[in-house]
Assembly symmetry: C2
Homo-oligomer: 416 residues x 2
Amino acid sequence: MNNWLIEQLLRLNMSEALVKPEGFTREGYTDEETAAIAAFKAIAEELGLAVSEDAAGNVLARWEVDGGLTAAVATGSHLDTVPNGGAFDGAAGVICSLGAVKLLKEADYSPQRPIEVICFRSEESSRFGVSTLGSKAMSGLLDPAIGSLEDQNGITIEEAVKRQGYSWQDMVASKRRKEELKCFVELHIEQGLHIVQHHKNYGVVKAVACPIRLAVTITGKAGHTGTTPMDRRQDALVAAAPLISFVRETALQLNAAYDTALVATVSTLTAAPNSMNVIPQSVTAGIDIRSVDDDLKKKMADAIRNECKRIEEIFGVAIAIDVLVNNPSIALDEEMAQSLADAGNHEAYLPHRMDSGAGHDVMNMAQAWPSGLIFIPCKDGLSHHPDEYATPDDLKMGVELLARFLVEATQDGREG
Amino acid sequence: MNNWLIEQLLRLNMSEALVKPEGFTREGYTDEETAAIAAFKAIAEELGLAVSEDAAGNVLARWEVDGGLTAAVATGSHLDTVPNGGAFDGAAGVICSLGAVKLLKEADYSPQRPIEVICFRSEESSRFGVSTLGSKAMSGLLDPAIGSLEDQNGITIEEAVKRQGYSWQDMVASKRRKEELKCFVELHIEQGLHIVQHHKNYGVVKAVACPIRLAVTITGKAGHTGTTPMDRRQDALVAAAPLISFVRETALQLNAAYDTALVATVSTLTAAPNSMNVIPQSVTAGIDIRSVDDDLKKKMADAIRNECKRIEEIFGVAIAIDVLVNNPSIALDEEMAQSLADAGNHEAYLPHRMDSGAGHDVMNMAQAWPSGLIFIPCKDGLSHHPDEYATPDDLKMGVELLARFLVEATQDGREG
């Protein structure tokens, strides 16, 4: 199994190595993502699965069952990456799902209901500032208004979707019927170090921390850097500096004061005109705030608002704050979490019950179907980085856990 | 004269208004700059001047003299702008130079040596991080190595020059012979408020403050914004924030401690990967330091180096500092400055002796020929900004001052 997993992971990543200095750049609704999905379809067909696409370009690879129950048990993840990301974020879940099917087929297992491996489109928010487009479409959570959001090259989501052969209108209307699925489970790399630090083998997630995301635009005044005296400036970048420090320091303080973790990051910053001899006229900073405690997220966002008022007064700039995202955190299905923890017992793998600081496709699926999420460890907790890595043994563990869960979920007597 | 000046200034700016919300974007060695230069050639020919180009694309518009002295008296400026700049930075000097020729022709003046109006290429540093390419070429100061510097779209100087029909190799070798010019005078908008604050009409510049420019690259570690705990980060943007504040605060302190002014600006900042869910991996900040006191510039640069060492230790990042530019400040010709101050007396305009915080083409010309620089006021001291403005009366004053100087300089008995 290990060799097969690595070989197929290389195929999905269209690469001869799983760790490369420049990492992998395969953003949502690009030709690169589409090429990786073509590899997924080929592997699924080699396993005898029936491949189809929905209106969002999500791929459904199905193990059909004659005359059994009709609601499928689904598992899967995504194949897009952030720019210069790693080979495992998303792809690990996709390949372990296919690996579980392979394991069950080789064991001549006969499911009583269909098993479906889903490859979601455009999970990362790096391109358009909005995440999980494919699973939002499938779950009926897609806001039609976001079609006009642009990437850094001015290409809208609607246009990007179209260029890959899909229609935004069809995608918005493509919510899947509830009765088609019984439940959904996603496997993902942890992107952190909690599993290892707790001396466990894998993670079973209780809740997913969804972000508050702010775009803070500071407007000062341009001027010549050589002729504008220091005490007559309204420099937007000078005004942005204390905000960056404030976000970090306030997050550290909240972590010291509360039991539940919170992270807050000024992750993007664009200065205009960004010209060597012009005082910065305006700065837009993107701030990402996460915690499974929604009140704590709000505390952080409120503190940022107050700090912006202080900065406006001190530096003579104007600050506008746009809320890009404000999603409540998502609790996952308790019963499924128990099944996923039990699956480890069969294989002597120790589960660690934990929360997820990152969003995943499962957070959308959970709003329509009972859903679960398991994590496998990744090296140094690194993710969204070229050095992102998970061992073949941990991938194999993921295959075994998913296979065990699929057996449990396709043998039960539940209606569907 | 006022109507003619405004009409021609509109032609040079290819616009129906001299102040527009978006300003003017006409960067060096672009089609936009070339189009403005075509307008310059047309106006020069209408005035009966003989138009030619050198290997850098600088345009020489000459009032030739039969049988007189051969070394020309030159005047001029540039037509490129920063992105979203104004209609006067550069163009004011170009149109006043042509206006002076028009005034003298209409007065049937007969110069004893040629008068030359020069339109320099690519004065602003906004595109390639290096300023005054055209006047550097003419003065023999062009470093061949900078041909490989790129703009934000990855286009090198060499390629940009080629696209406008010139050869980088020819341009590097195009130093003008010393005997071709007797002297050079530039007129420019002040880009500050010293003239008005001293209740004078125009500025006569003693020295030009040339910048030290640093590119500070901070390298931290990327990671997922949702899963990397606050106390385990090496966030390059968090490390950049105190540096931005430090540059401003140290410049303010140096101004309080010394008589000579210094300005220092973090004018550009680029964060990578600049993605909403990735901790900033690296930040490059461009710092522009100016003063006519070279020791003071060095003090500032040294303080920045020390602060970077402190930041490396506190935030666990690595910082590399590249010196992009380190040019000593340029003293202008004392005798010419006296002539330019005397020119005001003839017209009852009061000169203010001052230094220039900004670099200009004249700083290169001064290294090969006796050179002078005069400033006319601009509204609110604003420049590199869409609201940049100079009044028609101040432009007319500039024409009269240049015309007076040209008469003085083309009547003298100096050899050449």
